[in-house]
Symmetry: C2
Subunit: 286 residues, 2 copies
Amino acid sequence: MKTRRAAKPVAFQGARGAFSEEAARQLLGPRVPVLPCERFEDVFRSLQDGRAEGAIVPIENTLAGSVHENYDHLQTFELPIVAETSVRIVHNLIAPPGVTFARIRRVFSHPVALNQCLDFFARHPRIERVPFYDTAGSVKMVTEEGLKDAAAIASSVAAEIYGGRILRRSIESDRRNFTRFFLLRTPDYARRHPVRAPRHAQWKTSLVFSTRNIPGALFRALSAFALRDLNLTKIESRPLRGKPWEYLFYLEFLDRVDSPNARNALNHLRELADFLRVLGCYPKGA
Amino acid sequence: MKTRRAAKPVAFQGARGAFSEEAARQLLGPRVPVLPCERFEDVFRSLQDGRAEGAIVPIENTLAGSVHENYDHLQTFELPIVAETSVRIVHNLIAPPGVTFARIRRVFSHPVALNQCLDFFARHPRIERVPFYDTAGSVKMVTEEGLKDAAAIASSVAAEIYGGRILRRSIESDRRNFTRFFLLRTPDYARRHPVRAPRHAQWKTSLVFSTRNIPGALFRALSAFALRDLNLTKIESRPLRGKPWEYLFYLEFLDRVDSPNARNALNHLRELADFLRVLGCYPKGA
């Protein structure tokens, strides 16, 4: 009889119930084992060291923009992107069991979450906003301490995990609030488990490059894609370490990295770029 | 006899002695009156409301990258950029008078500053890093409280203002650490005081635009500059509010906005862009 190896967890930043855990469930099923980490760097490191078998990292939010720190880690660590997904950020008001809405005077959460619920706070001026280091962590704190006049703002998964009660659902001011996450694996894992997708799925390829600092360099680099009708879905610039006022560019286009068209585009870009690395190729998320 | 009007101050974010104050002195002289503000938004608002006559805002750092919040404010507030300057970020270890280096056990500063001095902390493992909300504010605190075992990390201007003693100069790990700042004025002020520069000075123009989300749109937009040999010095993307996964682009090129070449490029870009606004035209900083 074959013994089944215990599944290694997927690492993410934040406490249990963070939006990253929702992303992990969307991509890997509701029972995926998880490894919460304090900092983004720890997430990358856990995967690299083999403590985790995958890593989930947020890469951009439709209101707040790119998570630039994670772009930098994608370049430093060589951990390929194998999937992406988007999570709609739904902020819920969550209180310890027995605490009613009328008694709430303080609401704890991450400053970004508090800022995304300003209409709610404008309607309830008696409630004070209190910044906390983490959304899900604020639910853990108010329920564990059994605070009688306090609530937290976080995901419904956080309410479920820490036994909080959802008093108001979806209190965010703008519902067009989505965060896009990447799933990363080790190069070895990615080789042994090639990504599969339905036949007509669209694919995305992510890469990073730098060009010489000469007039028209970025335009020429983009021509490698435009001349082949490859659709760019994202471009982001980051400072190049050690070269003040020069930049690295992160770019995503719609196609498989090994399609003839993409291969030609990458060869063309290689002629123009000082540095080029493909970060991953994965099916376009919903 | 003509009475001289008292000069209105220049607003910046942070406590007196912040690196923004160094930028203000570089651009407007060592005796420029200043208005320290708590948040970046307050800096823009003070200028708009007339409490300040100018605003100094950091826009990018060679190690940490762009200050994205300020890109967003540049788009929201219509306050033209009239000058730029770069400040070399020199971190100094500053203690209350009478405190010697041997007695220091704790160092307070902004987390970004603490992180930029990791080599110093590695050489002195007995010293604990303590995050504080502001670099200059940490000098104010250690000197006002007269702490006997503590120092702060901040600019030399902060040491001068709060009467701290510089125990170690330039303890940052990477000296290629520069922050670029903009000076903003009201549209009315900018009209009444056109920017002047030496005859052979280079000029920069900053603008923001969005394109339809179609293949090759960014490439075509950049062609307006590349086809006219205009040198781009910066491009930055930010999420477009209300349109998930669409972007605004901030762009800078080397030329005056009213040169024939730049005018043609902007007319060309207007054909392609959904939205276009010039944020300012100013002499290239040193």
